[in-house]
């Protein structure tokens, strides 16, 4: 499972690192550090990944299931 944060849509609402703190971390400006990146979801964090997608007010986070 891979997860991606769209750099244009992310506005720094901060919900992802609040609800999924093992997957996302804030930067100095309150944006998610992983903004504009795509990465493999570590094993065991799949539920946090789905929660982050469903919690993002901007719809900026997407998951690719499989692998």
């Amino acid at each position: 499972m891979r997860i991606a944060v769209d750099a244009d849509l992310c506005s720094g609402q901060g919900r992802c690192y609040s609800v999924s703190p093992d997957l996302f971390t804030p930067d100095d400006e309150g944006f998610v550090e992983q903004r504009g990146t795509e990465f493999e979801v570590p094993a065991g964090l799949e539920d946090q990944a789905r929660l982050a997608v469903a919690s993002c007010p901007e719809g900026a986070i997407s998951l690719t299931e499989g692998s």
Binding site: Q13, G14, R15, V19, E29, G30, A54, S55, P57, E58
Partner: protein, 401 residues
């Protein structure tokens, strides 16, 4: 109260309504009226305030807020598409907007919020100390006004002794906007500018720690390689106050009205304070009282309506956050709702810069209050009222054993 008058035909055959969100009404009445409007009309033309479009559903409101190249911030005041003044950064579009907005992001980051939390807890308890033994208070005057103002002033490193000044200014400005006394609003803005002019002068003479003092920081900041000129500094300071204080006050009012009138939910958060963070998100969703507007940068067909360049579009956030298309059981408060992707802080580039601070103020208020006063109820038989536009209760009498 929202009153809906005769349905006629607007531009392009779209429905035309007179829906006045500027009127006072019973608490929550604006939100409830739009629950019905949203189901009937994805968009409509309003003939009030000079005539403007209204968009009602979550997806369309969020998309518009994310698309400043179509839905511009050149004006966000629905009745004034061509303001002679500019609010910075509120009235700016990308890329100009980002140059100013990025100055604020780090100042209102989660790290900064953590720094001011213990002082916020002390402040909350000091306000509660003043009335706890009385067994009653007007929540708005005794707590919702001064507490977030105090935390805000501390967060930007202005003297918290000036809390009463700011409370009065914010009352006058928002009272003026809702038509009570426009002259008092104008006077209050002028007084605030004078206050900040003097504070900026003091910081020039005696700079403070850049990391905590926002005025010193703004004086040292550059936009396009130039220092920010005085006029814009004053503008930014006033906008910061207007954006940060009326909002947190009203949200506290709605939260405590809800908890005062729903004892089972109140007991849940008293028994399990770990529920408070998700309760805060849900109460934000349920009472998203800010109605932003945008100005069309070009013609667009949107939600089935032919919108023209220069027209205004009103998008009450409560209409988005209570949309059953986006939220299961949207008309019910579920304190443990999770996920909750509400847009009570807006969406897109103008998303509330103070959202992290606001959330912390709400958290501290709800935690500290319920430690001291776990049981309380409305202290009146009269209906609690809310004002229109950026809605909020004006008075909330509470009593406790």
């Amino acid at each position: 109260m929202v009153t809906e008058h005769q349905v006629g035909t607007g531009p392009g055959g779209c429905p035309a309504l007179s829906v006045d969100i500027g009127q006072p009404g019973p608490i929550n009445s604006h939100f409830e009226a739009w629950d019905a409007l949203r189901e009937q009309y994805p968009a409509f033309w309003s003939d009030l305030y000079g005539g403007h479009w209204v968009v009602t559903r979550f997806d369309a409101i969020r998309h518009a807020l994310q698309e400043p190249s179509t839905f511009s911030n050149r004006s966000t005041i629905v009745s004034d598409p061509d303001p002679e003044y500019t609010f910075i950064p509120t009235f700016l579009d990308p890329p100009e907007h980002g140059k100013y907005r990025k100055l604020y992001n780090a100042r209102f980051s989660p790290a900064m919020v953590t720094r001011v939390t213990s002082a916020a807890r002390e402040a909350a308890n000091e306000y509660i100390d003043a009335f706890v033994d009385d067994g009653r208070c007007d929540f708005m005057t005794a707590f919702a006004d001064p507490f977030p103002t105090n935390v805000f002033l501390n967060a930007i490193n202005l003297p918290t002794e000036d809390t009463p000044l700011f409370v009065a200014w914010v009352h006058a400005v928002f009272g003026g906007l809702s038509g009570t006394d426009p002259d008092a609003g104008v006077r209050a803005q002028a007084e605030m500018r004078d206050y900040f002019k003097e504070m900026f002068d003091r910081r020039r003479a005696e700079p403070q720690d850049l990391e905590v003092d926002i005025l010193t920081y703004l004086l040292s900041a550059e936009v396009d390689g130039e220092p920010i000129r005085e006029e814009n500094l004053l503008n930014m300071a006033v906008v910061l106050v207007l954006a940060g204080l009326d909002t947190t006050k009203s949200q506290l009012g709605y939260n405590f009205h809800y908890l005062a009138t729903h004892p089972d939910d109140r007991r849940r958060i008293v028994d399990d304070p770990a529920l408070i963070p998700s309760a805060i998100e849900e109460l934000l969703r349920y009472h998203a009282f800010v109605p932003p507007a945008r100005k069309l940068a070009h013609d667009v067909e949107y939600e089935g309506c032919p919108m023209k360049k220069g027209q205004m579009v009103l998008m009450p956030l409560w209409s988005a956050t209570r949309d059953p298309r986006a939220f299961e059981d949207a008309g019910t408060v579920r304190l443990d709702r999770n996920p909750n992707r509400h847009i009570a802080f807006g969406a897109g580039p103008h998303r509330c810069a103070g959202a992290h601070l606001a959330r912390r103020e709400l958290l501290v208020a709800m935690e500290e209050w319920h430690k001291r006063i776990p049981d309380y109820h409305l202290d009146t038989d009269e209906k609690i009222m809310e004002h229109g536009w950026q809605c909020g209760p004006d008075s909330l009498p509470l009593a406790w054993p």
